[in-house]
């Protein structure tokens, strides 16, 4: 799930109640228990809301979200990944969920990666430690 850059003309997140609730669900107050979902934000403003367990497959994101770190990412449940574009981050999220889905299966075939994206994705994977 994703929505466009925060431009009024393109998309109005406020008007979508379900999305707003979803956003709220990712936010954690200091006292409350950590939420089940986290938000990943690309450099061009795309937001992806995915389960925390899936996101933590990535070592970098896991360390960002580690509650003991007291990073702002850990507190808000919102990671801004300045180096990744929306297109790449979408594929990354696809992989994170793909991994989550197949984690107990034997002999998983590889995810489909478009060739034009693979070098950028390679850099992203290296950065995200996935």
């Amino acid at each position: 799930m994703w929505h466009g850059p925060p431009s009024r003309h393109v998309y109005k997140p406020v008007e979508d109640r379900r999305l707003r609730d979803l956003h709220a669900s990712t936010r954690t107050s200091m006292a409350s228990t950590i939420s089940e979902y986290v938000t990943l934000v690309s450099c061009d403003g795309f937001e992806f809301i995915i389960p925390r367990s899936a996101a933590c497959v990535s070592g970098t994101i896991r360390r960002m979200l580690d509650p003991s770190s007291k990073f702002s990412e850990a507190i808000t449940g919102r990671c801004t990944l300045e180096t990744l574009t929306g297109i790449v981050l979408e594929k990354v999220c696809e992989y994170l969920l793909f991994n989550e889905k197949h984690k107990d299966q034997a002999n998983v075939s590889d995810m489909d990666i478009p060739p034009e994206l693979c070098l950028e994705l390679l850099m992203a994977a290296d950065y995200l430690d996935t």
Binding site: V92, Y95, F98, N99, H102, K103, D104, Q105, A106, N107, V108, S109, D110, M111, I113, P115, C118, L119, L121, L122, M123, A124, A125, D126, L128, T130
Partner: protein, 639 residues
């Protein structure tokens, strides 16, 4: 009776029973199909569906009253056609009629024969059921929901009843007469179709009859390959690895790697080299001014110019790792000496065109700077004298690997003992050597050694092990393979009271006695046997990560039971090779799995007593005859 005739039931059976006669008439006249053909086609269709409709019951009844259905129909046909001819005198109709009558059979009573035919067919089917063809088809069909012996047998019978190729037949759809070939398709009613109609039929069938459905995902062979490559059999691969593979796949479209980090470049090079795809164009992608290392594992397609390019474009290289570098010649070495002054690690495989003179020049100039030198597969040059020059000049050498260098022997071993800075030593000589020079190496450089690998030193004996015991106290890796002189006693005393901390990597491949006439070995065991194995695991069990005891076939079952006792744990053991150790059976293997919680790879070639092994998820079991079962995973998914 008249109404029955009009309805078309008598003449044409249940297949046409809703079609008005007028249509059938025009069909007959236009096509010129004889009734025999039609009936045959009709029966065939019936048979293939194995339905006995009103046709046989009625014809039976009519036959018993001596009335022929065919006769009635023929009369009707004649009357209608005569009427048609009289009405408009159509010549085509007449011709068709003439042709029709040619094929007309004598009006025979169908019905009594039907019983006989039925019985005959039944016999044929019984016979078919015993044939090989039937067994083959049945085997192919199993798994389908409605696999039915009778159905398969009927199919075969129908196939046999088809006109043989070369015969003439009338097309079922257009009625054209054509020669039957093996490509002729069966029509919707079971008859044959001419070439044109066959094509149309195929087009229509294309969608509903796809080829055998394949289960998606990698094949069994691919899975085995992955296992051997060390990939985990469960879960998805890392995104990085997937992307690297994808890049390697579409390498021909890549114009520039961009700022890929060196480890990724290294992995890419490994994959491309394995595919033998490193061409001069692809080499360019790897040449980056700011990188300090270059690893190309297959340089077979590179030319002399390409080596110059590597050295010229990457003058700050620290590590140069090139394999299969046959075109590398003296002038390239000389250029490297002049231009690439920062090279510290040099790994070259098979630079056979470099002469001894050049090697010596190189060592004299570069020697003091070298930290790591690995050379494989040299036969044309590099003799003992060169090795001595190397040992004299490479005073700072910490890592030395010499494998399959044909011309070096004992003198080189003696020279190596002067390399005081050595921390990692790996030797695999082609010549036979004496045991003494090895002792000298161990006694002089042993105390510093972190890793020691001695392969195929067939003349090394117990004194070598004793020397390792006495001198080495910082080893983490020990490889000693292919020897049948060292005794179990010596191996036991190597590990007993050894001041060396626990080893993390041990490879004792093929330490065993080989005597065809005495497979059990001598009473005093030779090679790694029971006591040696127990002592090894007592010494190193707490830290060991990788262990190979492949072909150490004198280790007894009792020793395995002692080592993999219920209370023992080897928390770091990841890779374990137990190939060709006879006593390992299901029970021992299960004990191994229980004692090694970190196990990821168990190699068990030739362990024929392992039949039903249950392992945790994430463990790759290689080489067993039967597939292991994984806890918590359905067996079907593991294929």
């Amino acid at each position: 009776m008249q109404s029955l005739v009009n309805s078309g039931l008598i003449s044409l059976g249940n297949n046409f029973f809703l079609i008005p006669f007028s249509f059938i008439d025009s069909f007959f006249f236009r096509s010129g199909i004889g009734d025999q053909t039609t009936l045959r086609a009709d029966r065939r269709a019936n048979r293939s569906r194995n339905i006995r409709g009103p046709h046989s019951a009625l014809t039976d009844f009519l036959a018993s009253n001596n009335i022929s259905a065919a006769q009635i129909r023929d009369d009707y046909d004649r009357r209608v056609s005569e009427a048609a001819r009289q009405a408009n005198g159509e010549t085509t109709a007449a011709a068709a009629e003439d042709q029709d009558s040619e094929f007309e059979p004598e009006p025979e009573p169908e019905s009594p024969e039907d019983k006989v035919k039925k019985r005959k067919r039944q016999q044929t089917i019984e016979r078919i059921k015993k044939t090989k063809e039937f067994a083959r088809r049945k085997a192919r069909k199993t798994g389908e929901p409605d696999d039915d012996d009778d159905w398969i047998a009927n199919q075969i019978a129908d196939d046999k009843a088809r006109p043989a190729p070369g015969q003439l037949e009338n097309c079922e759809i257009c009625g054209k007469r054509f020669t039957v070939t093996s490509y002729s398709k069966a029509g919707p009613e079971g008859g044959l179709l001419c070439a044109d109609c066959s094509k149309k039929q195929v087009k229509g069938d294309g969608k509903k009859a796809p080829a055998k459905k394949r289960v998606s995902g990698p094949s069994r062979r691919q899975n085995k390959t992955k296992l051997l490559d060390g990939e985990t059999p469960h879960g998805a691969q890392s995104l990085l690895e997937m992307c690297i593979k994808k890049v390697a796949e579409s390498i021909d479209d890549v114009e520039e790697f961009g700022d890929l980090p060196p480890p990724v470049m290294h992995r890419l090079s490994q994959i491309l080299s394995k595919r033998r795809a490193v061409t001069p164009r692809i080499l360019n992608l790897f040449l980056r001014r700011n990188h300090r290392e270059l690893n190309i594992y297959d340089c077979a397609q590179l030319q002399t110019d390409d080596y110059h390019r590597i050295l010229a474009l990457m003058p700050d290289l620290i590590k140069l790792n090139l394999r299969f570098v046959t075109p590398m010649k003296d002038n390239i070495f000389d250029y490297m000496v002049e231009n690439n002054k920062s090279i510290r690690d040099l790994h070259l495989r098979a630079p056979n065109l470099v002469t001894d003179d050049c090697w010596r020049r190189f060592f004299i100039k570069m020697g003091p700077r070298l930290q790591s030198l690995k050379l494989w597969d040299l036969d044309a040059a590099f003799d003992n004298k060169t090795a001595e020059v190397m040992c004299e000049n490479c005073t700072g050498l910490e890592r030395l690997k010499l494998q399959h260098i044909v011309k070096i022997g004992d003198e080189t071993l003696t020279a190596i003992s002067s390399l005081k800075a050595l921390k990692h030593l790996s030797l695999w000589f082609s010549q036979d050597t004496k045991p003494e020079p090895l002792l000298k190496i161990i006694s002089s450089v042993g105390p510093n050694l972190r890793t020691l690998s001695l392969q195929e030193f067939k003349n090394a004996d117990d004194t070598l092990l004793q020397s390792i015991h006495d001198h080495c106290r910082s080893l983490t890796k020990l490889r000693f393979t292919n020897n049948d002189l060292c005794t179990d006693q010596a191996l036991t005393s190597l590990f007993r009271d050894w001041s060396n901390p626990p080893l993390t990597y041990v490879d004792f491949y093929a330490l065993r006695d080989v005597d065809m006439s005495n497979p059990a070995g001598p009473p005093e065991p030779i090679g790694l046997a029971s006591n040696g194995f127990i002592a090894l695991m007592e010494h190193s069990g707490s830290k060991i990560q990788s262990l190979s005891i492949a072909s150490c076939r004198h280790i007894s079952r009792d020793a395995f039971e002692t080592v993999f006792d219920e209370n023992k744990r080897y928390p770091h053991l990841k890779n374990f090779d137990i190939s060709f150790t006879g006593p390992v059976d299901d029970y021992i293997a299960q004990c191994i799995v229980r004692c090694c919680p970190a196990l990821t790879k168990l190699v068990a070639f030739g362990c024929f007593n392992i039949r039903d092994l249950k392992v945790n998820m994430g463990v790759a079991v290689i080489g067993t005859v039967s597939e292991p079962t994984f806890k918590g995973i359905a067996q079907a998914e593991t294929m």
